[in-house]
């Protein structure tokens, strides 16, 4: 096994673990994006350009973007709830 493969693999393991143990979702999203890039690199090294391209576009861009948007949406819901004792929150409870 080539040195570069070992290095990147270990890096994959570490970043993956880091994404999981990061408890703050916003930091986690950044970690996830980074993780996506590392995985993409790993795939590239494994001679899988198709997958690497797909991983970098989806795993490193679209997926974190989805999380960002979801977080933004949730924050907005929270703001709305706190700004005016909104009936909507009462509905759910």
């Amino acid at each position: 096994m080539a040195f570069i493969q070992v290095t990147i693999l270990i890096f994959v393991g570490i970043t993956g673990t880091a994404v999981v143990v990061t408890r703050n979702p916003i930091h986690q999203v950044i970690g996830l994006s980074f993780y996506g890039i590392i995985l993409g690199l790993f795939f590239f090294i494994l001679q899988a350009p198709d997958v690497a391209l797909s991983q970098i576009t989806i795993g490193a861009v679209v997926l974190p973007l989805m999380f960002m948007l979801a977080l933004a949406k949730i924050r907005r819901q929270e703001q709305r709830k706190s700004s005016s004792g909104h009936p909507e929150s009462a509905r759910g409870a």
Partner: protein, 114 residues
């Protein structure tokens, strides 16, 4: 050393499960699920790799050049799209749950019991 890629795949699966078990936030939980899922990519691509093989593209290289397994690449492509869709669906569920209960903590939402 040669089982390192497999070990990493197993580790990613377990650490993803660990994240889900200990999660206090649905968004965090979904991201752990994404990590768990990436274990399948690593395993699939690793089992199809061949030392000295080129990419399975024969645009410039002539047919017969040693190449890695193209099949697992196709499987992983499918898998990646599946991941994105599952994440999208779970995130919309999480947004909904937050909207209805004002809460994102899995353990605090105990409507269904017993």
């Amino acid at each position: 050393m040669s089982i390192l890629p497999y070990a990493v795949a197993g580790w990613l699966f377990i650490i993803g499960l660990y994240g889900i078990v200990t999660s206090r936030n649905f968004i965090h939980l979904v991201m752990c699920l994404a990590v768990l899922q990436s274990s399948t990519y690593v395993l699939l691509l690793s089992v199809g790799y061949r030392v000295g093989g080129g990419p399975p593209v024969f645009a410039t290289a002539p047919v017969g050049t040693p190449a890695v397994d193209p099949l697992v690449h196709a499987l992983v492509l499918t898998d990646i799209v599946v991941e994105a869709t599952v994440v999208a669906l779970l995130l919309s569920l999480a947004i909904r749950i937050h909207k209805n209960t004002g809460n994102l903590e899995p353990d605090k939402i105990v409507e269904l019991r017993g």
